[in-house]
């Protein structure tokens, strides 16, 4: 494992067996998480981004999850091959997760303080009093006023934004090396989202956790991510630093995403450029490039085979047949052609 990487995912494949057949959610995903960075995994419904995140934590429902070949390398071990017991020692102290809905992420019958100290006592072996003190410190760290009082309250006594802070506090309790945040602000109001994003930024600086941020919101990505991986239909189609990908995207799906968002200074008389059609059905995913059916630049080769990744810089890669030397030269839409 490369020294700068804290997590390496190699060719991960995950499917679910449902009563309608096998749904292939993740079809060969490879990416690295560097130490101390925030990597955003971006995609729309059905892209497989949430499943990827849950697979790292092995939180997919055991009964019908099929994990194909592929590895998740962390701390010298392949997480895919660990037993449930071994995973329990990783979840919490080493890798922690924050989910989307703050209303259902907390146990409504347990005081908030206890939900934090549980983890501290189990994984760090802290004594009751030490754990309680630490719980108060954590609440203060995430910006909850009056932590001494709040520690003894129940989740329903907190608002949505506050609950999300508590969830973050619980996740960071054991100072994990990796924090996976699955759409952490999607369910929150915009002004509260701003608070939480600020908090995540601050915490990352203070504690140095590496963060995987799952989101569909490109504004959030521009706000706090260092690198971005764009997923479509179970595959990663482009990765790069945030600047490279926003200002010099190399894959038509990324162009489409950027072109379909109304920018603050957009001209209202111009129509947005949507991507026609809908994402494919993952119980029968298309062969070749999954975006071919919706791509305005599609060529005959596209539906036959998934393209190889072309490297543009140390960090920037994209998978698209347009970069094959035999492909015609194509200009991305004007809106997308690099702002800076």
């Amino acid at each position: 494992m490369n020294g700068g990487n804290i997590l390496e995912v190699r060719d991960l494949q995950v499917s679910f067996s449902t009563y309608e057949g096998e749904v292939q959610a993740v079809r060969g995903v490879t990416f690295d998480l560097r130490r101390g960075e925030t990597l955003a995994i971006v995609g729309e419904s059905g892209s497989g981004k949430s499943v990827t995140a849950k697979s790292i934590m092995r939180l997919n429902p055991e009964a019908n999850t099929i994990v194909g070949s592929g590895e998740i390398l962390f701390d010298g071990r392949d997480l895919v091959k660990l037993s449930e017991k071994q995973m329990q020692n990783i979840r919490g102290p080493k890798i922690a997760m924050v989910f989307q809905d703050p209303m259902t992420s907390l146990d409504p019958t347990m005081k908030v303080g206890r939900q934090i100290t549980e983890s501290l006592k189990k994984h760090l072996g802290m004594s009751g009093s030490d754990a309680s003190k630490r719980a108060e410190e954590l609440l203060a760290l995430v910006g909850i006023p009056n932590p001494k009082e709040r520690v003894r309250q129940y989740p329903h006594q907190f608002s949505g934004g506050m609950r999300q802070r508590v969830v973050i506090a619980i996740a960071l309790a054991c100072e994990p090396q990796i924090l996976i945040a699955d759409e952490p602000t999607t369910a929150l109001d915009v002004t509260i989202q701003a608070q939480i994003l600020d908090l995540l930024r601050e915490l990352q600086e203070k504690i140095g956790t590496s963060v995987i941020l799952i989101t569909h919101d490109l504004g959030v990505v521009a706000s706090i991510a260092d690198r971005i991986a764009v997923m479509y239909a179970g595959k990663i189609v482009e990765t790069g630093t945030v600047r490279e990908t926003f200002y010099g995207p190399q894959m038509p799906y990324t162009w489409g995403l950027l072109a379909s968002i109304p920018l603050p200074n957009a001209d209202r008389s111009q129509d947005l450029i949507p991507i026609p059609g809908s994402p494919p059905d993952m119980s029968d995913p298309p062969e070749g490039c999954p975006f071919a059916a919706r791509c305005p630049y599609v060529m005959r080769v596209c539906p036959t085979e998934f393209p190889e990744y072309t490297t543009f810089s140390a960090e920037h890669q994209a998978a698209c047949w347009l970069h094959h030397p035999m492909a015609p030269n194509v200009e991305p839409p004007a809106r997308v052609r690099g702002a800076k």
Binding site: Y19, E20, M299, V301, E308, T311, H324, M326
Partner: protein
């Protein structure tokens, strides 16, 4: 930069036509709600077997049983008393020499009749009451719910005994006892569903289009409650059969010479020591009925449960 590219046929890089329409097309025939539920039910072997068994039992009780046996459930023959199962009397005879085969199926008929009656009451009284209460809401709903609470406060055993005193014991009594309070559960369930559906966006959409109350209830609210109603019926029927069996067992239900599964079991229990077949046979049919209705009900609940999709 460093990527090595394979040599490919240049024609592959010509533009292809994308048909955005193609993306919008939906494969396969339209799958309605009931068809979809049936497909899922079929995968549940227990439910499917139960359904088959129930169909068989119905057929036996109402059609086949009486036809294939030459005997009548009432004719006594003192010379044939207490015969175990033989080739002439397939289920044997009871203490009056009556053929058990026909008696058991006659009893099953009565039990099924009670079950169906309870189901009908559920539908005509329970669903309507619950729908009106839930749909109208407000004060009306409060009053109607208090009504149900009062009815529920009356133990049906007391009602049964009172009915026995006032009317002649028998099928009428049973009907009153079970019918008076049995429908309240369904009413509550339907009311709950109405309250939930009233605030769904598709209901609001209809209202904003100008739909009348009748239209809302008949086209939107009830169809979306049918799943729940059917499931509930599958549990009401065995509950009613059981209630009848219990009342008959303690002597408050079916009187001789009529038979129901409950009374047969009751009679059989007294003969357990020397003539166990008199108990086992009706008990077997009874247990089979209960088990099958319950398994089918479970299966239906899974098949109709929207959360189980995808």
């Amino acid at each position: 930069m460093e990527t090595r590219y394979r040599e490919l046929d240049p024609s592959l890089f010509e533009s292809a036509d994308i048909d955005a329409e193609e993306g919008e097309r939906i494969a396969g025939p339209p799958v309605g709600f009931w068809k979809d539920a049936w497909i899922r039910l079929k995968k549940n072997r227990g439910a499917l077997v139960s359904l088959a068994v129930l169909v068989l039992v119905f057929a036996m009780a109402f059609v086949i049983g009486p036809l294939i046996s030459p005997h009548s459930p009432y004719s006594q023959g003192l010379s044939q008393r207490y015969l175990g199962p033989t080739s002439e009397y397939w289920f044997g005879t009871d203490k009056f020499g009556r053929d058990m085969w026909t008696r058991v199926w006659a009893g099953t008929r009565v039990s099924l009749y009670i079950g169906l009656l309870a189901a009908l009451l559920d539908i005509f009284v329970g669903v309507v009451y619950g729908a009106v209460s839930g749909f109208l809401g407000g004060r009306t709903d409060d009053v109607m719910q208090r009504g149900i609470e009062i009815l529920n406060g009356i133990p049906y055993l007391v009602v049964a005994i009172l009915a026995m005193v006032v009317f002649d014991p028998g099928i009428i009594t049973l009907t009153i006892a079970i019918g008076l309070t049995g429908w309240t559960f369904m009413a509550r369930i339907v009311r709950g569903r109405m309250l939930q559906l009233k605030n769904q966006e598709f209901t609001l959409a209809s209202r904003s289009l100008g739909a009348s109350g009748l239209r809302l209830v008949s086209k939107h609210l009830i169809p979306n409650s049918l799943g729940l109603i059917v499931i509930n019926l599958m549990f009401t029927i065995p509950a009613a059969i059981f209630a009848e069996a219990f009342l008959s067992f303690i002597g408050l239900g079916i009187q001789v010479p009529e038979a129901s599964l409950g009374s047969l079991i009751s009679d059989g229990a007294t003969e357990l020591r020397f003539h166990p077949y008199l108990l086992w046979l009706p008990a077997l049919v009874f247990s089979l009925l209960m088990l099958c209705f319950n398994l089918l009900g479970d299966g239906l609940r899974d098949a109709l449960d929207p959360k189980m999709r995808k």
